[in-house]
């Protein structure tokens, strides 16, 4: 519930509070801007929590993975299952968040339905990254680094709370190479009944990060379990 709750509070606080001071941003109200940004953020969080804390609990604390590996199952079966499950948590975050947006009347566009497949893809990216963290973690403490030094700074440079055009040019380039800006870019127009102008690029970049990230996570788990 943290995965949705925290971004939702950001949205309410910033949207209603800061929204009064900020005029339109890129052709939309600040509320709409921050709602779409924090929706993407909650999708990122859903998979990140599950792939780090919950997967680590099953692997290291409860030893559920060991139990499964004693059955006719392989490590790749288990990691694949964790990956898809964590990605599905992003869908759950997105459905909850979108439901709230509809109830509050912030957006009621039919394109909101397309957030679901987008959430699955974005979830796959951040689930894979979370599993990389899980594969190298010695304890839970490690995960707060990825949140504080990874996810939060990424949110700052990816247009979640303010437009990327406000960033120095170099930082914008960096951000375009990273997955969260494409997640925001893909989700934002869907709240206004539109499709991202860069939809093909967004999907390609996210898919590349998802597949590459999963490959790296798998290799790291294999190394961890070889000893």
């Amino acid at each position: 519930m943290f995965a949705v709750g925290e971004p939702f509070i950001y949205m309410l606080g910033l949207g209603y509070g800061l929204g009064r001071l900020v005029p339109e941003l890129g052709g939309m109200s600040y509320m709409m801007f921050v709602a779409s940004g924090t929706l993407a953020f909650s999708i990122v969080n859903g998979a990140t929590f599950e792939g780090m804390y919950s997967a680590f609990a099953r692997m290291q604390i409860q030893r559920t993975w060991d139990a499964i590996l004693n059955a006719p199952m392989s490590l790749s079966d288990v990691v694949l299952a964790e990956w898809t499950f964590a990605a599905s948590k992003s869908v759950l975050s997105c459905v909850t968040f979108v439901g709230a947006l509809v109830l509050l009347g912030i957006s009621r566009e039919w394109t909101l339905l397309l957030v679901v497949p987008a959430a699955l893809l974005i979830g796959a990216v951040f689930a894979a990254i979370a599993l990389i963290m899980c594969a190298i973690a010695k304890g839970y403490e490690f995960f707060s680094y990825w949140f504080s030094l990874g996810i939060m700074p990424l949110a700052m440079i990816s247009g979640v709370f303010f437009p990327m055009s406000e960033l120095p040019k170099a930082l914008q380039t960096v951000s375009y190479c990273l997955p969260m800006s494409h997640a925001v870019d893909l989700v934002r127009p869907l709240l206004q009944g539109k499709i991202s102008a860069n939809v093909g690029l967004n999907i390609a970049v996210l898919a590349a990060y998802a597949i590459g990230g999963f490959g790296v996570a798998m290799a790291l788990f294999r190394r961890r379990f070889a000893n």
Partner: protein, 307 residues
């Protein structure tokens, strides 16, 4: 029936360069069908690594491992369909009830929920957990968790069951109940492989024992054979403040004498003269007993702590 599990000159090292450590160093052994096979050794002897290799979870550097006729780890998946594992550390799923633990675990063997569900009553009865279907794992005692873990290892009706220290941490009542269940499994014709640090447990349950140390097999045979061929039949234990001082006086009457802390162990084939001599000493207590598997284990692997 041929061997259920066979190791032929198996080797395994961990680490690289200077940190490289050979944990299993040319291990060969065979577990015959229908046996309860005890796999003994001090901590760090290579037992866990060997078990992991037997189940295809760790790849040997060299040598051949066959489990139920399958080459490991290449055919691990097919072999594990017919194997049950009771791990050393309880790893029941705390998010599920007793019944759900069995059903969910059955899915990993490709069983449908309806088939799995139909097996639950018999499994719980075997584990002495009938009526506990809806209990949460946190409500179970240590002994109940172990029994449920054993029941979980039986969902696929395995021919071969591996138990890694199944009674560690349990009270005597719970241990006796586990022993009783293991004997019942053996009576059904299952092959059991058991690791334990309790020598009375190994002596009581196992038909055949293999003792490994430093990654090699150092002795094997039935508990009786091992005691007879390894050690003197009588042991006299002497307790007292300064038993070390008695060592020289006692040596003439015993084959071997060892002092460990405030206890002196004298091993002999003719106990009478020894106990007569000891009767003259004041301030010591004497216990005369037949040699047991623990004496064998200590003789084979030494008295020093391993970790």
């Amino acid at each position: 029936m041929s061997s259920v599990l066979r190791f032929s000159d198996v080797r395994k090292s961990f680490g690289k360069g200077d940190a490289k450590r050979e944990v299993v160093r040319g291990l060969s052994l065979a577990v015959e069908g229908g046996q309860c096979f005890g796999f003994l050794g001090p901590n760090g002897a290579g037992k866990t690594t060997s078990l992991r290799m037997a189940l295809g979870q760790t790849e040997p550097d060299s040598g051949l491992i066959e489990l139920l006729g399958y080459t490991m780890p290449a055919d691990a998946r097919r072999a594990r369909e017919k194997v049950g594992v009771v791990p050393q550390m309880d790893n029941l799923d705390p998010d599920f009830t007793v019944e759900e633990n069995l059903i969910v675990y059955s899915r990993y063997f490709g069983m449908s929920d309806s088939v799995a569900k139909s097996k639950v009553p018999a499994l719980l009865e075997f584990a002495g957990l009938s009526g506990r279907e809806k209990s949460n794992i946190a409500e179970l005692s240590g002994g109940m968790k172990r029994r449920l873990t054993i029941a979980r290892a039986l969902v696929n009706d395995p021919a071969f069951i591996v138990l890694d220290e199944p009674t560690t941490g349990l009270d005597p009542q719970a241990r006796h109940l586990i022993w009783d269940r293991l004997k019942a499994l053996r009576a059904k014709g299952k092959t059991l492989l058991l690791t334990t640090h309790f020598m009375d447990e190994a002596e009581r349950l196992c038909d055949h024992l293999a003792v490994i140390d430093n990654g090699v097999l150092i002795a094997q045979g039935s508990p009786r054979e091992l005691i007879e061929k390894t050690i003197e039949p009588d042991v006299v234990e002497v307790y007292g403040d300064n038993v070390a001082a008695l060592k020289d006086r006692v040596s003439a009457f015993a084959t071997r004498v060892e002092v460990s802390g405030e206890t002196l162990f004298a091993y002999t084939t003719t106990p009478k003269p020894l106990t007569d001599v000891l009767a003259q000493f004041q301030g010591v207590r004497v216990l005369h007993r037949p040699a047991n598997l623990e004496d064998v284990f200590i003789k084979l692997t030494g008295r020093e702590l391993r970790d």
